[in-house]
Amino acid sequence: MATEVKTKIPEVLEKQEAGILTDWMKEQVAATTVRPDLLKEGDLREQSGRFLQLLRVSARANDLMHIQGPNWAPLREMLDDLSRSRAIQGFTSSETATFVLSFKQPLFTRLRQSHDDLDGLAEDLWRATALLDKLGLYTTEAFIKSREDIIGRQAKEMFELSTPVVELWQGILGLPIIGTLDSKRTQLVMETLLERIAQTQAQFAIIDITGVPTVDTQTAQNLLKTVNATRLMGAECIISGVRPQIAQTMVHLGVNLAGVITKSTLAGALAVAFKQRALAVKPISPPSGNG
């Protein structure tokens, strides 16, 4: 980069901070990407003011090309925070990047006014563009990173929620499955269930698949694996919540469920388990008139 022409960017930022901020705010409020529903104008003004202030301080060092350097740390931190909060608020990545990129026009206008020579202007415009592009890209990256963090956390939470083993009765465990059963999940379901069987010495495990939207060969295979593993441990496994469509699909797919007890409802499965344990549910007394 040619250094003969001295940049006027820091100078412009120092001297005309207030004017640039006013122009920039006008620019942002008028832009199509502004989201008054998600962010109040006052907050936006505060963020813009802070950005401008930090940019001014960072630009003083005359090192406009290396935004990874220590001079730019406060500004980077500010953009990290901004991206994170916008990712949480539900902004899109372009809306977030536009915050930085929309700063170009007010800055360029001021640069044009303060330069007399064309070479110096061109040079400074180039520097400003390169700088703001870098900052814009940095913002986008930070935004995506925040979004990925959020998605990762949600996936983890869903994964934890996905395998609740409940004790329905002494010696009878229930495992309601909601959502698709892929191999990874089957593995987790199987491990959790078998661990609980070993821990509680429960004789029956009821897998309820009411919440499983569709069953394909893979899912059926995974279910069978779980049933077989339970049996190897010496417990009995009952599959409940088989809906009519799923029963049809299973037969069409040629899934062999021979030897597996299947019931259409959880209550039916519980009844089987009660019967095999020689338990019965009875009314306490004969029904009388007072209900």
């Binding site: 491990e191 070993a198 004789q203 077989n228 593993a229 190897l232 441990m233 010496g234 417990a235 095999q276």
Partner: protein, 128 residues
């Protein structure tokens, strides 16, 4: 050569495996169990594998063989105390041990054998 002890209790034989199984030991156990069933006229065999961390496909097959051989010699076999990790591994390997009965612990296994002995049909699950 070391051998797995086989205890004789009433009508049943009790095999508790407490060392890591290797192929030769398993084959020896298979011989011994058949021998002892014939000698003692036992009506049931209980194999406790709760101490085993790993069971490979060969050992699993030997267990299946023992069950079938006992069947021929008119004795039931029940395999008790399989650990979750072992069960998962066997299922992933595609070993389902058909024809072998399982129970969660030795007590339940005994109940299962007694129930089968007391002349009921084999569907009875051996509950108290």
């Amino acid at each position: 050569m070391e051998r797995i002890p086989i205890l004789h209790m009433g009508e049943f034989l009790l095999v508790t495996i407490q060392v890591d199984m290797y192929d030769k030991l398993a084959t020896a156990l298979q011989d011994d169990v058949c021998q002892r069933i014939a000698e003692t006229k036992a009506r049931g065999v209980l194999i406790d594998i709760s101490a085993l961390d790993t069971v490979d496909s060969y050992i699993a097959r030997v267990m299946g063989n023992i069950a079938q051989m006992s069947r021929v010699l008119d004795a039931d076999t029940v395999l008790v105390g399989m650990r979750p990790t072992v069960a998962i591994t066997l299922v992933e390997m595609g070993v389902a041990l058909p024809g072998i009965r399982t129970a969660l612990n030795a007590e339940r296994g005994m109940a299962l054998l007694s129930a089968a002995r007391s002349g009921e049909d084999s569907d009875a699950s051996g509950e108290e």
